[in-house]
């Protein structure tokens, strides 16, 4: 027996670190270990490496280098953008607008600010997870200081009309932040053309290391610091720089954005074949998210009559790594807030499965999932009391 075959289809959770990225990083753990704040020459190597990485990130976003700040990742960037703008602009107003389907790094930050006296509007989404710029227009008041809407959703993959939403915010002279953690390397980003004032990103979503991210802050945005201390990051984000991580994010973003079209063609080709196969082979399955405006590697489907965690356990047993929006894996009572916001019934939300494809996947992986998944679904349905009650009466709709 050889080693168990692993089919990793959870790239929206995290990605592996590419060899070229890792190789670029290693010297900064060993020979180039100097603290960039020091004045001797080995410290200068570290400083140069940070400058080079900052340029790589800036180029990928269409930003200037002095608009890029390194952080510990997506959650810190979201916290900084939202709390930083909220507290710095409190005199102007106390109203923040976000959406119902944001990542918890945004939603829980907004909940925290509500306790601190801010009011927050959560924009609804349609059944595909799309936010309507007209809803944003209506929600803005004289007190609005910030709009924060994610670029693309991590669960259902829906890509939001970011440039339009940014334009609405700017018409009212309101800052616009976007959590772009899922889009780097998948959707071209141009912060100027897309009307973005702040943008969060995280390296481990695009084949870089964990523990390093960045926040783009457009020149002139009034924002408080989040991490107080030393004078790093031009006195805006204290803490000795994670130099190896910074080198890693620079290399990773350069690789990820070098050929977005080519990457998408390959990933989307596999994704579409997998999705079509699932819809054709398994009855009673619904696609969640938008048909076209979705991340190239994302599949999110709900299966009637079965529950997501038991699906994941069986898939894991076969070596397939996936995720679900069922409550049973989240440690909470409710299934995914994203699926519920799209109007999906709670019982169907429990049966959701997310497969996110990426660079590691091959056509053989697609074949393998198409071989295993129908068996898993039918095995679980066979023991589901709901299936026999409803399922055999005239079959189920395939959307």
């Amino acid at each position: 027996m050889g080693e168990k075959r692993i089919v990793y289809m959870d790239h929206s959770a995290t990605t592996y670190t590419k060899r070229e990225v890792l190789e670029a990083m290693i010297p900064y753990y060993s020979e180039h270990f100097g603290n960039p704040s020091s004045i001797y020459s080995i410290a200068g190597d570290s400083k140069k490496a940070i400058d080079a990485a900052r340029l790589q990130v800036a180029k990928a976003l269409g930003a200037d280098t002095d608009e890029i700040y390194f952080t510990s990742g997506g959650s810190e960037s979201d916290n900084w953008a939202i709390k930083g703008v909220a507290f710095a602009n409190r005199k102007k107003g106390n109203h923040i607008i976000t959406s119902a389907i944001e990542h918890h790094a945004v939603l829980h930050t907004c909940k925290y600010l509500e306790k601190e006296g801010f009011t927050v509007t959560y924009l609804p989404v349609d059944r595909y997870g799309m936010i309507d710029p007209a809803d944003l227009e209506k929600a803005i008041t004289e007190k609005t200081i910030l709009v924060s809407v994610m670029f693309a959703n991590n669960e259902i993959g829906t890509i939001e009309p970011i440039a339009e939403l940014g334009a609405v915010a700017h018409n009212h002279k309101v800052y616009f932040h976007t959590d772009a953690v899922q889009v780097i390397g998948n959707v071209p980003v141009d912060v100027k053309a897309q009307n973005i004032d702040m943008l969060s990103l995280s390296a481990h979503k695009f084949y870089g290391p964990k523990g390093i991210g960045a926040l783009y802050i457009k020149k002139g945005v009034k924002i408080d610091n989040l991490i107080h201390g030393g004078g790093q990051e031009r006195k805006r984000r204290a803490g000795t720089e994670n130099i190896a991580g910074i080198v890693g994010i620079g290399k990773a973003i350069e690789l990820a954005t070098a050929d977005i079209d080519g990457h998408n063609k390959r990933i989307q080709g596999m994704r579409d074949r997998l999705l079509q196969g699932i819809l054709a082979k398994i009855p009673g399955v619904y696609l969640n998210g938008h048909k076209e405006k979705r991340l190239p590697g994302n599949i999110n489907v709900s299966f009637e009559f079965i529950e997501g965690e038991s699906m994941l356990l069986w898939l894991d047993d076969e070596g397939i790594c996936a995720s679900t929006g069922s409550a049973c894996t989240s440690g909470s009572l409710e299934p995914s807030h994203v699926l519920l916001a799209t109007g999906l019934p709670v019982e169907i939300s429990h049966g959701s499965l997310r497969l996110t494809l990426g660079d590691i996947n091959t056509e053989q992986d697609v074949d393998f999932v198409l071989e295993v998944l129908p068996k898993v679904v039918s095995r679980l349905r066979e023991m589901s009391p709901l299936y026999h009650k409803i399922g055999k009466e005239g079959g189920c709709d395939v959307q």
């Binding site: 529950e307 356990l313 069922s326 049973c328 894996t329 440690g331 009572l333 009391p385």
Partner: protein
């Protein structure tokens, strides 16, 4: 996250299916909460001679159904009634706190099936000594 015993009963569930002409049936849970258990009992001379289940739910729910049906087989109705959720969880070598409600569901499924039998035979249903709150490990109720 799960014990080997839970994984064993999840992957090789005992007693899956229905019993034709069952003597007692109990259905508990709610699809909105993410779990439903249906328990079927065959009862002869006050003894549970067969027990089967159908479950919609997570790994712990399936394993709890499997274990609960195993535990009641061969027992008198009085003994089967005493099979508690704790006994199910212990036999499974423990469940994560958030999953304890799955074992509660299994106990209630067995109770409902026994009372279904008693009602069919013109007997007073037995009363739950310690009615459980569906607490999902927290002080919350899934009552959509």
């Amino acid at each position: 996250m799960y014990s080997d015993k839970v994984m064993d009963h999840f992957k090789n569930p005992r007693n899956v299916g229905e019993i034709e002409n069952p003597d007692g049936v109990g259905e508990v849970g709610n699809p909105v909460c993410g779990d439903i258990m249906k328990i079927f009992l065959k009862i002869e001379n006050n003894i549970v001679t067969d027990a089967r289940f159908k479950t919609f739910g997570c790994g712990a729910a399936i394993a709890s159904s499997s274990m609960a049906t195993e535990l009641v087989k061969g027992k008198t109705l009085e003994e089967a009634w005493e099979v508690s959720n704790k006994a199910v969880a212990e036999a499974l070598e423990g469940l994560p706190p958030i999953k304890m409600h799955c074992s509660v569901l299994a106990e209630e499924g067995i109770h409902n099936a026994i009372n279904d039998y008693r009602k069919k035979h013109g007997l007073e249903p037995w009363v739950e000594k310690n009615p459980h709150v569906h607490d999902h490990g927290e002080d919350l109720t899934c009552d959509h």
